[in-house]
């Protein structure tokens, strides 16, 4: 046997050993009653056809390989951006374990979050007791400065009323009466993680600005010169927020980042465990009401939050995950207009460098076809950048994008000669993408880690940009916003293009006549 106690083989090698290969073969032919190989191959080939694509797109009920996550994930993302804040998800604990592992796998950091651990009896009698006990335990065990409550589907289905529950819990002494417990209802059967982000952020701001659920007076806005900045749900939050702060500091803008999770998801290895780190202070969150304006980097992540802020008298501006020269120009111009601060020479230089880098490499990206999927804002931002580079974003797909989003993308495509043969697919999933890649092949695919299955099936090389990225490390530490961020995205795209050229020419004595050192 190839497997022995002296030399135990791991999974990479074990089943490649002849005994196993033979055993699987035997098992298959003798016991599995398999279809003939030609039939299997035939079906595989058939899934690559236009006929299959039409059937695939005619799907009405089933979603296969969705490119989206649930609301509470977004709620947790927003909550950890505030100082010493413990996200508390009212509902079943299994969901919460998912959020924690999801973030840990992406950010390579511990991710603290608790649930009210509702069980069957809670589902029957309501989750009030779980809330009362849960808040008390979390408060005493983890010493947070704030607990931000959101919900899983279970609590939503039985109709638990967070406002009332939290009030009762405070009356029962779970947490002190003045302790901040903002909340948001975040059912996963509505919207996606970006909706949850929106709801949770709105819940937190409403809590501080509008009288903490009727327990104090609402704040009276006394406008100052600051601006608020909201990043939205963003896998590059660590790098992006640091970059945005650097840009604002260079411009001399006074600002408040609402939901700054760049510290808690990038803590140093110095022997100390930081359950909480950095974040928008509660005072800053409250005082943010006085700002003269609020900027959101992701329109579809702040569909409810921004109007709420506007109602408080702010001027608001929303962007769609700006990437590249023109998008960053617009962002900086708007910040400059809102704050009256000039754009300094240092940023003008960075801009020139990005333009220079794009020009240096333009020939390699020009005319290349890309398929792209991700959150609606990111799709818009990256597609605009691709158009700027002279690439053709042939398929643009967002499972959590709606028809209005689709129309917005289409308008952008129509405005560019490079968008002529491109199509937008709101509400579709990655199995749809698979058909698209087979029937209308592209040169590269941009998406998150789950795109690797599409790469495996269709052979389309995957450029990993998005959330989550589980199988490549540390990209979240690099910004994709600002001119510096645009440079990073450019480099990632180029790296893949050159890797592909190398891959196609690397076979010794066969294709390596074009395996060149200069590209």
């Amino acid at each position: 046997m190839s497997q022995s106690a002296e030399k135990v083989l791991d999974h990479f090698d074990l089943f490649r050993q002849p005994e196993y290969v033979e055993m699987f073969e035997d098992k298959k032919s003798n016991f599995e009653a398999p279809h003939p190989q030609e039939k299997v191959t035939g079906i595989v080939e058939w899934t690559k056809t236009w006929e299959y694509r039409e059937k695939n797109f005619a799907r009405e009920a089933l979603t296969v390989n969705p490119a989206k996550a649930c609301q509470p994930l977004g709620a947790v993302f927003a909550a950890v951006g505030f100082e010493s804040t413990l996200p508390f998800v009212h509902g079943s604990q299994g969901c919460v374990a998912y959020y924690r592992s999801h973030f840990s796998r992406h950010f390579k950091e511990p991710s603290s979050c608790v649930s009210s651990s509702m069980t069957e009896d809670a589902a029957v009698f309501g989750g009030l007791n779980n809330m009362i006990d849960g808040l008390a335990n979390a408060y005493n065990m983890y010493k947070p400065k704030m607990i931000a409550v959101s919900t899983t589907c279970m609590a939503e289905v039985i109709g638990d009323d967070l406002n009332a529950f939290i009030k009762t819990s405070k009356e029962k002494g779970s947490v002190p009466a003045e302790f901040d417990v903002p909340f948001a209802h975040t059912p996963a059967f509505v919207g996606s993680h970006i909706t949850g982000y929106d709801n949770a952020l709105k819940g937190i701001l409403t809590h501080f600005w509008d009288g903490k659920a009727g327990t104090t007076e609402a704040l009276v806005r006394q406008p100052n010169d600051k601006i608020n900045f909201i990043g939205g749900f963003d896998g590059y939050t660590v790098g992006n927020l640091r970059e945005v702060k650097r840009i604002f500091d260079l411009m001399g803008v006074s600002y408040t980042i609402l939901g700054d999770n760049s510290e808690v998801w990038d803590t140093p290895a110095d022997g100390e465990f930081r359950m909480y780190d950095g974040g928008t202070t509660l005072e800053e969150a409250a005082n943010a009401v006085h700002a003269k304006a609020t900027v959101s980097m992701q329109e579809y992540c702040t569909e409810k939050t921004l109007p709420m802020i506007a109602e408080h008298g702010h001027e608001v501006a929303a962007f769609n995950h700006p990437v590249g020269v023109e998008a960053t120009d617009k962002f900086l111009m708007e910040v400059s207009r809102l704050t009256g601060k000039a754009i300094p020479e240092a940023l003008a230089k960075e801009r020139g460098r990005l333009v220079d880098a794009i020009a240096d490499s333009s020939a390699h990206i020009h005319g290349k076809k890309f398929a792209l999927y991700g959150d609606p804002d990111m799709c818009l931002g990256l597609a605009a950048f691709l158009l700027e580079l002279g690439a053709e974003p042939t398929h643009i797909l967002a499972t959590n994008g709606n028809k209005e989003w689709g129309a917005k993308v289409q308008a952008m495509l129509d405005a560019s000669p490079f968008g002529k043969n491109c199509h937008v697919y709101p509400g579709k999933d990655l199995w749809h993408m698979r058909s698209l890649l087979y029937t209308e092949p592209v040169d590269f695919l941009i998406g998150n880690t789950y795109g690797k299955y599409l790469q495996r099936d269709t052979g389309t090389p995957l450029i990993r940009i998005g959330f989550p990225i589980f199988d490549r490390h540390h990209h979240h530490r690099y910004p994709v916003w600002g001119y510096q961020g645009g440079l990073n995205v450019l480099v990632w795209i180029l790296d893949k293009i050159f890797e592909e050229i190398d891959r196609n020419t690397i076979v010794p004595a066969k294709t390596d006549y074009s395996f060149d050192i200069i590209r």
């Binding site: 333009v355 700027e388 002279g390």
Partner: protein, 480 residues
């Protein structure tokens, strides 16, 4: 006078060089290479010239005798493609150290040759002299001779240390090395009346392969290409060809001329760039072969191929004509013959506003004048600053040049296309011309140029005007 100076002198006095013929005896003695101006940016050295001329010979080991700098910086830096061996891409150097400088590097060189033979057993080894080893007096010719005898294998000295002169001189010294030690040393298995040499073609980006199918169709055999995609043996028996085509006008003229003298192989200067030149070259090849005894019907066959290919080319050009008409091009080329590219671009309706003639011969310049008119803007030697200015003043829409000028073009916000040795697209032949035009079209219409030419939006007063109508300054209002 030592052997090297004699060789250099001889190469300078090239009778087939038009420029040389016009000189007085004294001038001729001084040599055709302009003395480099200390402090001014310059091109490559003689070593580099020799190395790039011979490096495309694919199955030999190219051993650089010198400190790491020479091979370290030149290792595999050209896109000369091979259909067979990849040995030419392996970087071999003696990488001499301080002690070698003191005690001499000949022993190390000899051992290196031995180790190459033991490990790789190539059909030949080319040994390149460099500045340091030449200065300390290493006699590579003696070492090569001893090694050849000892190991029974050609070990070819390429005596072109960097300090003797320019890259172009190095090209010629490389040619001399082939003439002295390689050409005529072997015999081909069989001969045909259709055997030709192509001299000065390096198969960059596989260009030779774009031309070869047409030669195949004509029934012409490339007996030897010097040196693109060449095998040692092919170069060694190249003296049996019936005729030769000389591709790069200045690099290897000495090879073509001496082969004509020694082996009676007539040659013509031609180019694979551009439609007229390509067709002319095919015609000339056929004509020379027929003159040397090939059957007459080759001429008619060639004409049929030319007619078909030209028709196909113009048909493929249709979609570009509107897009490229009147586009102004600045052409800065090194090795590629300027005039051949000029003709090619004019054929698709583009306008050449200037071309470099740094390495062009008198004859080349005459051809450029014929093509571009008497007041052709010929640039003898352009500094990056001048180049920048010319581009910046928007006298051109696009620059075609080698990789080193790319960055000047970009800083001047000008579309740019690589047509030198580092390019990845083959532009030779009818097929290559389509590719070149496609690439120019792509480059011109890349959206980045719009971005490059636009100032940052905050630098643009008109943007503010647009953003806030009614806020025109009095001056602007008057202008409006």
């Amino acid at each position: 006078m030592d052997a090297l100076s004699k060789k250099v002198q001889e190469v300078f006095d090239e009778p087939a060089c038009g420029k040389n013929q016009g000189k007085s005896e004294k001038e001729r003695k001084k040599g055709c290479t302009k003395q480099l101006q200390p402090g001014a940016a310059a091109g490559g050295c003689a070593f580099d010239g020799a190395k790039i001329a011979l490096q495309p010979i694919t199955d030999v080991a190219h051993l650089v005798h010198g400190p790491i700098a020479c091979e370290g910086n030149s290792w595999d830096n050209r896109g000369a493609k091979s259909s067979g061996s990849r040995l030419y891409r392996t970087g071999f150097t003696t990488d001499i150290n301080e002690l070698d400088v003191v005690y001499g590097g000949e022993k190390r060189l000899y051992k290196s040759v031995k180790e190459i033979i033991d490990k790789y057993d190539p059909p030949a080894i080319f040994v390149y002299q460099t500045c340091v080893t030449a200065l300390i007096g290493d006699d590579i010719e003696a070492v090569c001779k001893a090694a050849s005898q000892k190991f029974g294998k050609p070990v070819i000295p390429v005596n072109a240390p960097g300090f003797v002169g320019s890259k172009n001189l190095g090209n010629k010294l490389a040619g001399e090395a082939l003439l002295d030690h390689v050409i005529g040393t072997q015999e081909p298995d069989y001969l045909t009346p259709y055997d030709i040499n192509i001299i000065g073609e390096y198969n960059l980006a596989g260009e030779l392969w774009q031309v070869k199918p047409l030669l195949d169709e004509m029934g012409v055999r490339i007996l030897s290409c010097i040196s693109g995609d060449a095998k040692y043996r092919e170069v060694a028996y190249s003296h049996r060809a019936k005729a030769a085509m000389m591709v790069c006008s200045k690099a290897m003229i000495n090879i073509a001329r001496k082969m004509e003298e020694r082996y009676e192989i007539p040659f013509f200067e031609g180019s694979f760039y551009g439609i007229t030149d390509m067709s002319d070259s095919l015609r000339q090849i056929a004509k020379l072969l027929v003159d040397k005894g090939a059957p007459d019907e080759l001429l008619a066959r060639t004409e049929r191929i030319i007619a078909r290919e030209e028709a196909r080319f113009w048909q493929r050009m249709e979609p570009f004509k509107d897009r490229l008409k009147g586009i102004k091009v600045l052409l800065i080329t090194g090795g590629v013959k300027s005039w051949s590219v000029v003709a090619a671009l004019q054929e698709v309706g583009m306008e050449i506003v200037g071309t470099s003639v740094k390495k062009s011969t008198l004859e080349d310049k005459q051809k450029i004048k014929e093509l571009m008119g008497e007041d052709a803007h010929m640039i003898e030697d352009m500094t990056p600053r001048e180049m920048y200015k010319m581009l910046k003043d928007a006298q051109a829409d696009i620059m075609l040049s080698g990789g080193r000028s790319q960055f000047v073009a970009l800083k001047a916000k000008m579309p740019w296309l690589d047509i030198n040795q580092e390019r990845h697209h083959a532009y030779a032949g009818y097929e290559g011309m389509v590719k070149l035009v496609e690439e120019i079209d792509n480059s011109l219409h890349n959206p980045v140029w719009e971005q490059v030419r636009k100032p940052a939006p905050w630098d643009n007063p008109f943007l503010e005007v647009m953003a806030a109508p009614g806020s025109l300054s009095p001056a602007l209002e008057a202008a409006a």
